[in-house]
Symmetry: D2
Subunit: 161 residues, 4 copies
């Protein structure tokens, strides 16, 4: 998929051979929110993970009364894929609920961005990732994982893998 | 499924109407180990989760170079099930690798038991669970979640759910 | 300190040679709540940890916008003590805010109990612990860690320590 | 303290009014490693946190047999400071053991860098941080937290603080 940059979602996705897989990934991330278990934050998040072999695994946040035992949507998607035998990934799309659509911050608007923990878990499986940060209206920003977690600590630093 | 107690795995599981679903759950937990990503502990663990509707979701441990960002097999299984729309569960089976089969400890032998974090994540979705702790030879112990996490902290304590 | 059981806080703690250290531990757990950083749960918790050498380390919950990156009061106390060179502990007292004083549940009233993650972190440093679960009115229940985390998974199970 | 860039540690730190506090912070991060509880990774890490009021809190990694319940040195330092009433911070220094001193990687050599989880926990308390990434020989790189966690998710995104 493409490099960094912001652009509106295509109004007519049909007829775009390259766009279709991406649109599917984005749609799956939006749909994944519907399964979120988030009674504490009331902040549903969805994620969709594209494997190297072209399969998509979706995830949602799963919270806990002991907040620290919850997990984000992105990590849920990765754990699902790993547990089904996939270890090589190409892209992650992240979507959040539309509740906060009126809060236009300075630069990032209401694009959802992954937390540092999720960036680290993605990085365990390589640095060659595209991360799609979406808004409720369908627009997105795409970043390389290295842009989101520069100078990262990884498996090589432990010299064990 | 049955209450607490230890017993050998049935030698002839066929022809046991009640036993078959349990044997399937146990087998799925053993198979789930094969997907474990555990380059740091080299300690593969598998889990299989039985939903109230009779479906089985399997999980494995997924580790990270930043050890604290890893996750256990049991939590992986729960997150998978939640992300597919299931929120009511009946039983969890846990299996570990056979590497340590010669370490016979006092009372528990080498039955694998869930960590406290996994007990808490299970407890988020109710206290009415059977937890099957297995050994490599197929024998198991079954415990109620309340036995494994007595006097538990849960959603009610936050009065938010 | 004493074994399990529930009792009212002594009205006049002075003049009790054995009671004074306990009263100090309980008081420190209550005071520790004042430092809690909990803008998300609005549920301040305090903990006080008694080391084998008689020192007390206090902790509070420290939450995060990414809920899973927060930490409980009990773990904060243990990490503080470890980082100051202590590795042997005798007792932990836990205190929560009085906000929910009117919610009288069946058996545990509004005694605060540790989450499974904290029980596991305590267990890393031995099973010979007293855990004081308190109420806002000063009464408490004391449990052994083994009662709170039976059949626990621990360092021996990895045969590495 | 200064902006980004790499430089050797000053050979003669005495007589440098501005350098002394930094040298103290770096030294404290190195010393903090000595308390690390890391029987699983055998990878001691130390951190030292400078508060807005000029105090230093040190931390080390504290691991667990359930790997995911461990915590890094940086988070230990922050939790300690919070639990002592500090919520505004200026700088963090991180030091690792010298075990791997012969592994000269391409760009970062063996400078230790914080994991994504620690970057997120730092970010909870503001984006105006200097992070000192050190090597065993005393040299360091200093980065702004924003450089280490760009486009970060934070408290504002939940509109709750
Ligand atoms: Zn996350
Ligand atoms: Zn676990
Ligand atoms: Zn806890
Ligand atoms: Zn870290």
């Amino acid at each position: 998929m493409e490099g960094g940059g912001q652009r509106p979602a295509p109004a007519v996705p049909s007829g775009q051979p390259l766009g279709d897989p991406l649109q599917l990934l984005l749609r799956r991330s939006r749909e994944a929110k519907n399964c979120a278990y988030c009674p504490y934050s009331r902040f549903p998040v969805g994620a969709a993970l594209l494997t190297a072999s072209g399969e998509i695994f979706s995830g949602c946040n799963v919270e806990n009364a002991c907040y620290s035992l919850g997990v984000c949507a992105e990590r849920t998607a990765i754990q699902k894929a790993i547990s089904e035998g996939h270890t090589r990934f190409k892209a992650m799309a992240i979507a959040r609920t539309e509740l906060y659509v009126f809060s236009f911050d300075s630069d990032m608007g209401d694009f959802i961005t992954p937390c540092g923990a999720c960036r680290q878990v993605m990085r365990e499986f390589g640095t060659d990732w595209d991360v799609y940060l979406t808004k409720a209206d369908g627009t997105y920003i795409v970043k390389r994982l290295e842009e989101l977690l520069p100078l990262s600590f990884g498996p090589e630093d432990l010299q064990k893998v």
